[in-house]
Every structure is written in structure tokens, then in C-alpha cells.
Amino acid sequence: MAIDFVAIAPEIALTVTALLVLAADLALRGDAKQLVNPIAGLGTLVAIGFTIFLWGEERVTFGTMFVVNEYAVVFKLVFLGSLLAILGISWRFFAEGRYFQGEYYFLLLTAFIGMLIMPSARDLLLLFVALETVSIPAFVMAGMRKRDLYSSEGALKFFLIGVLSVALMLFGMSMIYGFTGTTDLVGIAAAIEGETASVPLLLGSVMLVIVGFGFKISAVPFHFWAPDTYAGAPMPVAAMLAVASKAAGFAGLISIAFIAFEPVAEVWAPVLGVLAILTMTVGNLIALQQRDLIRLLAYSSIAQAGYMLIPFGLARSGAGAAAVNDAAVQAVLFYLAAYAVMNIGAFGVAIAVNRRTGLRSIADYAGLGSRNPLMAMALTTFLLSLGGAPLTVGLWAKFAILQAITVDVTGFGLTMAGFLVINSVIAFFYYLKVIRGMWMGEPAEDVPALQPGFNLSAVIVVLMVGTLVLGVLPGLISDYTSLTSVMASG
């Protein structure tokens, strides 16, 4: 079996970079150790180059396990772009803290290798391997502030719940293999379609697999780990968990749901739709009560996962389903890309404010507008975008989801749209609370001056400009996402 090395070039590039980083960390001493960050950045750029080269091509390798098409390329670019941004916000944070830098960057890159595989995987086993490649480094990274009890607690919670859900998923996968006799996603779809009567146990296994991904995207009720883990983990790791790792979960869920389980969409779509409603509502309501910005962002990202689950609730099977399903997948893809830009940006500001000052509660942000207008403006932009205000990319993300709903209007779709609207308003309440504090609040006495540093400021400015430019010209993303289709031949 010949392997198409071009198809896996981005993954190879990241793997080589990860090993280089580990070796460089051994060779470098003292302050020079922070140079592993630019090495990782260069490797990422190379991977981005390979990925862009793959645009427009359709490659299948490792049998039919690994597929590179436009859908996968867009996803990979979202991951690699997030990786670049996360490297940018990590540099000073890890160089100045007492961290093992080489190990961190190695683990980070490894997790991203798993993410790159995710949208290309067309086999249950490969999906499982990819998911574990994302999760296991993340468990370690979450506990990297090892002198901090909260970090250990968060990491342990993350690990236990993660392992449990993975076990359930594996159980589900094994039963699906038992029923269908294949681990190939397309083969599973054909086998399920072949069943004349519905098999309750098969549907049960479908649910078990979905639960595994529900944990990864922190959908309610599998979200309990997220706030504690985000708050305890080093902030760049929290950004990674909230954005990239969540996007990886969505990539896997899309493959599982829209390829393998498409014939039984009638069964899982309502379940995921209800999960969407629960997730956004619970996330937003709890976010209202938060006093710590990272925890607020954690609950807000749970709510955002709820919005992104809406398109799954729209899925159909059978004839005429393609239009709805394609629109649904494109909406999720667009939302993820937008979400990566604005949410990493928000975490970036949190890191900038926290750097050398230790500030993290929302009360500490009072008067930020007069202390550091740039950071205040950036956080304002990101929060408005997360809410979906005009001239930010967040509006178009919501637009994409509403658009998917109206492709073929159903009562359930409209119900979800109603919840989306109400939740957007609730979400704005707490976003505006932070914004109001920054611009209209009085800064507390003797707050230390912010020292975001050049690197971090540059990353934040780029993300802010990106949020605004994409807000005016969303076509820069949607022209590509609208071409995508999960199915290899689509």
C-alpha cells in the first residue's frame, strides 16, 4: 500500500517540529530555552504552507482512512492558525513562569497533530487515535502549574471525566463494529442504511460515541470539567482547550455524525438539538454569576459550543438531505473559524492583563479603558464579537447558523433559533458588564500598571484587526467554507 506523503505533509511537518523542539530544549540553556517558541512557530508556518498547497486537491491515502479535501484543509488551517496565535500568547507566559518550556511546546504540538488528523480521519480507529492524541497531552498541560493545587485539581478532573467518556465512546465503537463489521465511516453508513428495522442497541451505541465527543466540546451535561480546568490551567492552555481542542471535538463529531451516522440522523439530530439548547442556556446563565474573567470565558465558551451544536440538530437523512447537511457543516466550520479568532483574542487580553500583575477578576478590569486603552479596546472588540455585534466576525457566525436553520424551516429549527436569540441577549448582558466596567468603572487604587509586552500586544492587535476585517468582509472565510463538503466526493 503506497502512502501519499503529500497528503500527510502538514502532519509530518508538525511531528518533525515537535521532535526538534524537544531536542532543542535539551541543547539550549537558561534564557535561550525560550527560543523553542519561534522554532515551533516556524514549523507551524511550514505546515501551513503544505496545507495551503493541498487546497483544491482531493487525496485519499492509507486505504480510505485518511482523506484530504477542501473541508479538511479549511479545518486544518483553522487549527494551524490557532496554533500560531496560541504560540504567540504562550511565549512570554511560559518563558517567565517556572515552566518546562520544551515539554510544553512538545505537548502542544503533539496535541495539534491529533487535531490535524481529526478532520481527515474516515475510520473509527483513526478518529479514536486522533482524539486521544489531542486529549492526553492536554491532560498533562492542564496540570502544568504543578505547584498550584487548583491546577492539579483541574487537571485531575479533566483526566477522570475525559477517561470515563473515552471509555464509553470506545464501548460504543466496539458495538458498532460488531453490528456493521467495519470501522470505515462510509462502510458503517452503508451498513446502517441496509438495516431494515431499527436496532435499539445500535442506536444506543451511536449515542455512546456522541457522548465521547460531547465531553470534548464541553456540551452540557458533560461540561463540569471545563470551568475548573480552564481556571486552573496556565492561561494559554485554557485558550487551547477552549478553542482548538473544542474545534477538534467538533471535527470528529462532524465526521461521525454526518458521514457514519447520517442514515439515522432522525434519531441523533433531535438529541443533539436539545443538547444545544441546554448547553447554551446553562452556559450563559452560569456565566452571569462569574467574577473571574477566565471562568466567565469558560462558561461563555460552553455557551458558544451550544450555538455550534444547533446545526447538528438540523441534520436530515435520506433524499434531499444534502442541502441541509452541507449548510449545517458549513455553518459549524465558519463559526469555528470566527470563534478561534475572537476567543483566542479574549484569552490573549486576559494573559496580557495578568502578566506580572496577577490580575484576573472582573473587578480588576474596572477602568482598564483609561489605564490601557489598547487592551480595553481589544477586549471590547472580542467580547462584542463573541456576542455577535455588527462589524465583528461574530455577527456573521450567528448569521451562518441562522442561515442553516432557514435553508429548510422546521418547527424544531425555529425553536432552536428562538433559544439562540434569547441566549444572545443573555450573553450580551455579561459581556457588556465587563465592557461597562472597563470604560465606565473607576480603577481601584494602587493597581499595578499593565506590562503586556510587545509580542503579546502584536498578537492581540492582529486578532483584533482580524475580527474587524472579517466583520466587514466575512467572504474572506465564507468563500472557502461555502465550498466545503464533508463527503469525499462532494
Partner: protein, 511 residues
Amino acid sequence: MDPNTAGWALVVALFLPLVGAGALALMPASMDREIRRAAVVITAIAFALVSVIALSFDYGRSGELQFTTDASWITAINARFTLGMDGISLPLFWLTYLLPLLCAIYTTKHLPAPGKPKAFLGLMLLLQTGMAGTFVAFDLPLFFIFFELTLVPMFFLIGMWGGPRREYASIKFFLYTFFGSVFMLVAFLAIYFTSGAETWNIQQLSEMAPFGSATFQTWAFLGVFLGFAIKVPMWPFHTWLPDAHTEAPTIGSVLLAGVLLKMGTYGFIRIGLPILPDGALRFAPVIGVLAVIGIIYGSLCCLAQTDVKRLIAFSSVGHMGFVMLGIAAMNEAGIQAALFGNIAHGVITGMLFFLAGSLHERYHTREIAVIGGGMLTKIPKYAVMFAFVAIASLGLPGLAGFWGEFGAMWAAISPGLGLADTYGGLYLALVILAALGTVLTAAYFLWLMQRINLGNPLERWADEPLEDIQAIEWVAWTPLVVLVLALGVYPRLVFGVQNDAVVNLMGYLGG
């Protein structure tokens, strides 16, 4: 300038304030005075350009779009960048450039705490682009963007420069209006997919209308209705307005009353009616009833207010009720009256909020009882000015306020599109109640005049050196006073411009 080819002029006029806001942002904050002057220059250039556009507008073809631009924008969803202007857009668009100019002039001398003219004027200019774009955008997503763009600057204007309860008022304003507009967005998407024409163009959709089932028309109109009714605001969606107005700085109130509310009624006329005629027809009686409730309720609330600015805010609810009554009549006269009422209310109430702001600057209170009368002896010119505008607002014939209110009632006696057959009695009752509302309007304004203008000044003000109208106020206010008179004496200024466009619109409605 040739109105057929000079689409660029409209684009320049539209984005000039935005560019100006960027230019202001680059000026160092220490150049306080220069920043304020720069804002005057920017708004003056924009106003001059729009006046040139208005002069070269071909009034013989005011039913057609002129100064059009049509460019591809977001290909994935077929959204286009379509601008244009017809007789309905022109007066509102022009007003959107006049008021910010006057506001900028006013701000050279008056700026509430905490100062920061750079941020204040920058936000005002951003707001201006949002408002202006709403009136010339002819593609639904573009319209939506401009419509929503006004939220953020207004939120900051109220929240940073507002009164004591500014934080509550600003968040309420934002959340309330945002809530409505998301439903509107859902309706827009439904329109797009139901029409099946792969276009968002407002004119093309109007020409295709009516499309879709009766259920679709009802639900889509409900979505559009929520978005616009909250903006207008119609009773019972008005509760954000008194808070926002009371807390907003003077400039914020002027622009809110002068232009922002008009975006709601304009939306009904430009989008709700022609694209969803069946839904609109079904909702017309509901709109009429809510409008008249708004008229009566607004007037009664005015009678109960103790704060001058809050009183004016509630009077907006009543006046916008008349505008909506005109729309509910669903005939040519009604639409004409509604659009005229829009302009008249913008000019008059904008002016009233200027006056209320200046009142506060002088007395440091807006409580009627604390002011306690005698303005005619204390500051006579100001008092006469207040009386003049208040009388215009209560709808005295010969001044601007009259034509909109009278026209709306006149139109509603014989509503169009078959409404007269089924709901003739209801509309007659509505007109009678609305007429009663005009009496109440007169009552609260005259009572207000009696309480603050007449009588002798209270002892506490006896030794206060209160200043009469300042030079800068004369400059900012004279154009509005002239407009109040001109529109009252010669209403064809607006009616004539709009006529062909309204006839076109009624064509879409099948009337």
C-alpha cells in the same frame, strides 16, 4: 453631478464620517479644542456634500433609485453592496447629516462629564455612518449591518456621558434593541430562502412580492415587526426609550429622537410593507391599535412626568404613534403622512432635546417643580424659543408638527387595500381616539409651558445669573427653527419629494 452615474458621491458621503472618526482618533487627546473644531469641519464637509447630492437629485424621477452603487460583497451568501436613494430616502438622509453638524457645533461649547471630546465625537461620527447607511442600503444584509451599527456607539454615548442611571439605561437600550433585531435577521433569512430568487435586493424582492404561504408572510412579518417596532418604539415595546433618553447626554438624545427612531418607521415602509404585503395587511389593524394606545398612553405619561426631559421622551412615544397610525392606514396618504411625521418629529423633538439639555445646563435640574416658572422674565429668549418648539410639537397648523398628525388621522379614516371594508369601524374609532390624543398632547405641552414659562421666578433663582440663549446655541438651533417653520408653511418640501416614491411603493402593495 449626474444622479445616474455619481454613485461614488453617496459612498463618499456615507463613509466620510467614519473616516473622520478615524482621523479624530489619530489626534492627540490633549488637543481638546482642535478636536472639537475638526469634528465640525468633518460634519460640515459631509453635510455640504449631501446638500450637493440633494441639489443634483433628479426630482422628476424621485420614484427611482439614483446615485446607485452595486458591487459584489459576500459571494458565499450572494450579499451585495447596494446603495441608492429615492424620494423616501432623501429627506431622512439629509436630516442625518444636518443634525450631527449641529451637534458638533453645540459640542464645541457643551460637553458633559467626563469630557473626552475625541471619544465622544468619534462615537458620534460612527453613529452617523450607521444611521445614514440605513437609509440608503438596498440589500438586506447591508441594511442590517448599518441598522445594528448604531447600537455600539449609542451604548457608549449613553453609558459614558449619561446621567446618574446611565449604566442601567445603556445596557437596557442595547439588549432591548438587539433582541428585536435578531428576530428581524431571522425574518430576513426566511425571506431570502422563501423568495427562491437568490437575492437580498430590496427592490427586486419588492417587485416579486407577495411570495410564500400565508403562514410565512405572517411569521416573517412578525419577525420584521419585532425588530422595527422596538426601534420606533411602539407601545408596549417602548420602555427602553424613556430611560435611554433621560440618561443620555444632550447630543445622544437629539440623535436618538432625531434619526435613530426613524430607522424603525423607515424599515416598516421600506422593507416590511413592500416585501411582505400580505403579512403587513394582516398586521395593519394590530399596528393601528398599538399606535393609538401609544398615542394615548404617551400623552397620559407626559401629564404625569416631573422631569422635562423625560416628558419629552414620552411625547416621542405619542408622536411616533401617529407615524405608525399613518403606516397602519396602508394607503398613499398614510405613508406620506408617516414619512412627513418622521421628518417633523426628528426636527422638532431633536430641537426639544437641545432645549432640555440647555435647561439642565442653566438650572442644573430638570425637575419642573424645582424650576418653578418665570422663565419668560428670567431668560425670555430661551423661553420663547421653548414655547415655539413646544407648540410646533403639539401640532399647531402652520408649523411642522401639524401635517404628519393631521395627515395620519385623515388617511386612517379611509384605510386602503380593502381594510376599510373589514375594519372600517375599528379605524374610525382609532381616529377618534387619536384625535383625543392630540388634545391631550396640547394639554401637557401647554401645562408644561404654564409651569415653567409663566409666573414669577422662584426665590432660589432670583440671584442666579442665568444666561439667555448663547451665540453657539443660536448657531446650532436656527436651522432647526427655520425648518420647523418652512415645513409647516410649505409641506410640499417633503411631500413633493416623496410623492413618486410613495406611489411606487403602493404599486408593490397592490394599492
